[in-house]
Point group: C2
DNA sequence: ACGATATAGTTGGACATCGAACTAAAGGAG
DNA sequence: CTCCTTTAGTTCGATGTCCAACTATATCGT
């Protein structure tokens, strides 16, 4: 839950550096929540954002990764990812096979249906993003992304 | 769940504008998740981030708001906020009174314990943010915040 | 080669959140 | 005034997530 700007009483000024970063994370949190909700609403095949992310990753980065590696990549616990994977398997979008080289591991592969579902989702997502360039110019995004990436990378390494 | 940069296979280039915004929201999602986790870990009194946000808002914006107004400000459903409020009430951090002017409404006030808990939480949060200025300069945050605010405002209005 | 330690994956309990159904009170149209 | 619609708040079932405990397999030090 994040606060947004619905209320109108002026906040007391707080010039500390902490407050600045607090605001940054607050804006980021709200954007995440609003954008995620928007995105999930249009996803086809009853896909959750988590499930879509797995399919999208498989297409972009290739498949055959282990669940543990994917869970780390997606910042969720192994338990959470077990659940996500079971949902995707039940929908026929991924295939999970034992790792021939490591008895503890498995390997995750996309099915044709999974690739098709990912394409459907991307197509459905298009209109969701369509209006945004008129609000935030691509050049602004170019300027912002490196900073966010740096912040993300640091948080990722130091968690 | 968001993907991060743990995996090393190169992504196929995708020059469409959609991809750019996709990356933006992806970075934002990861940062939100990592920062939230970090923040929740240090919160005292068993506060959740949602609960802290209510206390913080009360201090910064004054108390006496209705649950409905607060739920809208925090982007959660009324049902969710009912639950959050009950937790805070059980901890003695807020007082909820009937609205004298509207039989349907209530009004939310902070208790002294609630204000103290908020201060505790802020103090605990300090170290969490302490290292970040060395990663992302405050000037960069100043540059980024207006853009994020604009994006947040638009998403908020057009949801 | 063995025992201690680390890693992969699953499971179960707890919890925050959502959406939908519901009650109660307020507001508006006739 | 009366009825219809809107708004405030609660409750309930489902879901996604986390954490901790657990099993099985792999790895490392001696």
């Amino acid at each position: 839950m994040r606060e947004t700007a619905v209320l109108t009483k002026p906040a007391k000024p707080d010039a500390s550096a902490t407050a600045l970063y607090f605001r940054l994370f607050n804006e980021i949190g709200i954007i995440d929540q609003l954008a995620s909700t928007r995105f999930e609403r249009v996803l086809p095949h009853g896909l959750t954002q988590a499930q879509f992310t797995v399919l999208n990753h498989g297409v972009r980065m290739g498949d055959g990764w282990t669940p543990a590696r994917l869970a780390a990549a997606f910042q969720v616990t192994k338990g959470t990812f077990t659940s996500t994977l079971q949902k995707l398997e039940a929908k026929g979008f991924v295939r999970v096979e034992p790792d021939p080289d490591d008895g503890r591991s498995k390997r995750v592969f996309l099915t044709e249906a999974g690739r098709a579902a990912r394409d459907d989702a991307l197509a459905a997502a298009g209109p969701v993003f369509a209006e945004i360039p008129s609000i935030v110019d691509p050049k602004e995004v170019d300027a912002i992304l490196p900073v966010l990436s740096r912040l993300r990378a640091w948080l990722d390494e130091n968690r």
